[in-house]
């Protein structure tokens, strides 16, 4: 029996029953604990305190629901929707245990949505997606940011690489700089790339995180149809959600085929190694790097499985961790310090799982925790590789009046060209 896509939470019954309530899912891997502070890896348990909000708590609840029936109460839905779906609990659990955590929690969320128990704020987002093909309100045209840049239209001309811009970067004027920086980098390196412009539509990744599998699938199929029609072999994106969608979720749902998917940080690293891009300008700035969940631990390639039980678990080992760091280290003058919670056990920015929309206070709380950690390194700036992380951090910084700056990796790379 292959893993049945859409078979749902039932296929993870054995995994849910295996949870022994050890509480490791609350913390970073124990040998990485370096002090009293920054020990927690799960924002949900750290904020809401009841064990139910931890990865293990969710597994216990799922196991009970599969046994005794799904009884949707306000409290249950509060537990379900106050989770960034960041995958940290699974990494910590899977240090020791052979059991699937993240997918089980994902499927529980999807079941809630399928059973009609949605969050009203997330319903609004999905309504927008269905109408506009975007996770954020579409202001203007999707490719407006590219005006004057003379970029190829990948739907009309043959290109080697499709640069998938993403919803937030396309429509939020504050994020246009990321798209422009990415385009500048690719042009400078002589990459034959194009954008889909108005034809670009949401990757569907955030819809999946929120629990709306059908909407995700519709978006995935639209994207793959565009890619196939245009003869695209490689997609590059500067959004971690987009990266996870194309690289992992599309593969999980057997839609990806042989498409090569790269995050811009991986691509820049590749271009530097091939000698096609040189970052020569000195930027005297001390930074710390924030690993986006969906580029790091959740960006790990999907492993298809057959039979009753998963044989090879995805444990966050093979996410994209080093390329962004290598890019930063290649910029003259950059001084990189690491936070305590990094790589496969990084603390989430707060925006994932629909929390940005359903509970902005919790998203902000999570981001402030990260800002505190970044500040503790002494760095002047926190660098990430996802516009959602950047947006969430900026909001939090503005709230507390911190002097910490926020950059995306493409901004620094473009400045250093």
């Amino acid at each position: 029996m292959k893993e049945e896509i859409g078979m749902g939470v039932e296929q993870y019954k054995g995994d849910m029953n295996m949870c022994c309530r050890c509480s490791c899912c609350k913390f970073i891997p124990l040998q990485q604990v370096s002090g009293y502070e920054y020990t927690y890896v799960c924002p949900s348990i750290a904020r809401y305190e009841y064990h139910s909000y931890s990865g293990g708590g969710r597994m216990n609840i799922g196991a009970a629901a599969l046994k005794d029936g799904f009884n949707y109460t306000d409290r249950l839905l509060d537990i379900v929707y106050n989770c960034q779906m960041c995958g940290a609990c699974g990494v910590s659990c899977n240090y020791a245990m052979d059991m699937e955590v993240q997918e089980a929690i994902n499927e529980f969320r999807i079941k809630c949505v399928e059973d009609g128990h949605t969050h009203p704020e997330l319903d609004k987002v999905i309504k927008l997606l269905r109408k506009q093909g975007s996770m954020v309100p579409a202001t203007g045209k999707r490719g407006d940011w590219a005006e004057g840049l003379d970029l190829k239209d990948a739907t009309k001309e043959k290109v080697d690489v499709l640069y998938h811009v993403g919803c937030l970067t396309s429509y939020d004027e504050n994020m246009h700089k990321l798209a422009k920086a990415t385009a500048k980098i690719l042009q400078k390196a002589g990459v034959d790339f194009g954008i889909a412009g108005e034809a670009e539509t949401c990757c569907g990744g955030r819809a999946f995180q929120m629990g709306y599998r059908e909407d995700f699938l519709k978006q995935a199929k639209k994207n793959m149809a565009l890619i196939k029609k245009a003869g695209i072999k490689t997609v590059v994106t500067s959004c971690a959600d987009g990266y996870q969608a194309f690289k992992v979720l599309y593969d999980q749902h057997r839609l990806k085929g042989n498409l090569e998917v790269l995050h811009i940080s991986e691509y820049i690293d590749k271009l530097i190694r091939e000698g096609k891009l040189k970052l020569k300008k000195k930027l005297d700035i001390s930074v710390t790097y924030h690993d986006p969940c969906r580029l790091g631990r959740l960006g790990e390639p999907w492993i298809h499985w057959e039979g009753k039980k998963i044989k090879k678990y995805r444990r966050g080992t093979n996410g994209v961790y080093e390329p962004p760091r290598d890019v930063l280290k290649s910029i003259p003058g950059i001084n990189l310090s690491e936070m305590t919670r990094i790589k496969e056990y990084a603390w989430c920015c707060g925006a994932g799982g629909g929390v940005n929309e359903s509970n902005p206070e919790f998203a902000e709380w999570t981001a402030l925790n990260r800002i505190d950690e970044a500040t503790s390194t002494g760095a002047e700036a926190i660098v990430s590789a996802c516009p959602w992380c950047e947006k969430t951090f900026n909001k939090a910084i503005e709230k507390i009046g911190s002097r910490l700056k926020v950059y995306d990796i493409v901004e620094l790379a473009a400045k250093a060209i």
């Binding site: 029953n17 022994c20 309530r21 050890c22 124990l30 002090g35 305190e49 139910s52 609840i61 109460t73």
Partner: protein, 490 residues
Amino acid sequence: MALERDVYREFEDVVGAEYICDDPAIMPSYHGVEHAAVVLPANTAQVQAIIKLCNKHKLPFSAVSTAWTGMFSPGTIYIEMRRMNRIIEINEKNMYAVVEPYVISAQLQAELFKRGLHLNVKGAGTQCSALLRGHGHLDQSTSGDDRNHLAIEWVTPEGEIVRSGALGSVNEWFCGDGPGPSLRAILTSAVPPGVTPGVFTKAAVKLYHYPGPAKFPIQGKSPKYTLSEIPPNMMARYYSFPSVEKMWEAELKLGENEICFELMGFNVSMVAANITTCNEDEERIFKQMDKEKLGPGFFVIIAGNSAADFAFKKKALEQIISESGGQSLKSVEDPETEGILLCQCIRISASIRETFRPGGMFKSIPIMGQRDLTIKWAVGAGEAKLPLIEKGYIVDDSGGFFGWGVEQGHVGKTEIFCKFDPQDPEAEKAVEGWHKEQSERAFKERYFALLMGPVADDVAPAMSNFNVWWDKITQAFDPNGIAPQGGPLV
């Protein structure tokens, strides 16, 4: 078993609306028991108020830290000590740390390492409470059980606050036995903050000198973390012996000579579990190590305060091992494996890998007692596992058992478990049968007596009817009978 609304409101007035919940939705994550309510106090005053309300309304209560295991009855006020998570003090000069119940050992250990200190870490692991009394792999160098508790702040089952030892007389944490009330046997008969009557809200734990690095040089990604180098003046090895008697002889000599930083009587199945990242690899490595070993054995870490100290300990270790006919397991001499075990066995302690990963469940008989006697019993219990292994009911570990001595090693922990799939009813039944049979044998053949389970009723008369006295004591402290009774708690 919902509380009446006016009673609920009384508890709510103590902790605030956000920190009490009786919604059925959360109960599956609280051991699947229908508690009266889950309550999260922030400080000792709130704990006291909660206990007084429990007395007022005759509501049973249980207080827990991370609560990995426990026994809970429906209708209990479940006091989760999560919000009491502060390190109150680290007193380097007098070598104690004062912690609240939800400081986990990993946090305290990491802070102590920076100061050249460490603590006894309980075998359950560093994700558990630093306040926890119990045994751990470091017992030879850091003692075990209640010996690491100094003064304790205790809320009695009636809701009085009692400060034991020096805390009760001179407001100092350095001694649990005086000047001031020493309540050691009462307070630490089991495991804090619950099961012992009442609730521990703070405790001072003894600290020890630590010769190791402030941070281990970890590299790699989960689940495979290795060390880029073995820290100076540290070494980890596994030694096996031609017989249990020879193993015991070496273990005792090492204890009496105070050589080891850590001595853990792992069997090779547990070594294999700790160094591998999935069940398939564990099975393969175990088979390899099982062929390599001479017989039963133990894992050792030595740590020197200087190169000369390390050289002496290494020489003494090797001499003792040689005199007992022991042999070092070559697999563990490999620096990568050595580094994994060094870090794992200090920073994590018992690993979930060696207990829950293989089968999803394990059933154990642990006993604290005279090591040579309990080892003899464990040999028989291990042989009794072999038919279950053959039938595929339990994970193959060659019938292994484990344990370690405390301080000089005469007394210590011996434990044996069966790892099985809890979804397999036949396996569960077979394991239950083994457990009952071996517990009864332990008592009949006068090795030791378990205080719970099938022989409990026969044990008391053989032990001066201790239960009669214990009942009198608990009744005196708990006239309303609301404090939890018995059961291990982590």
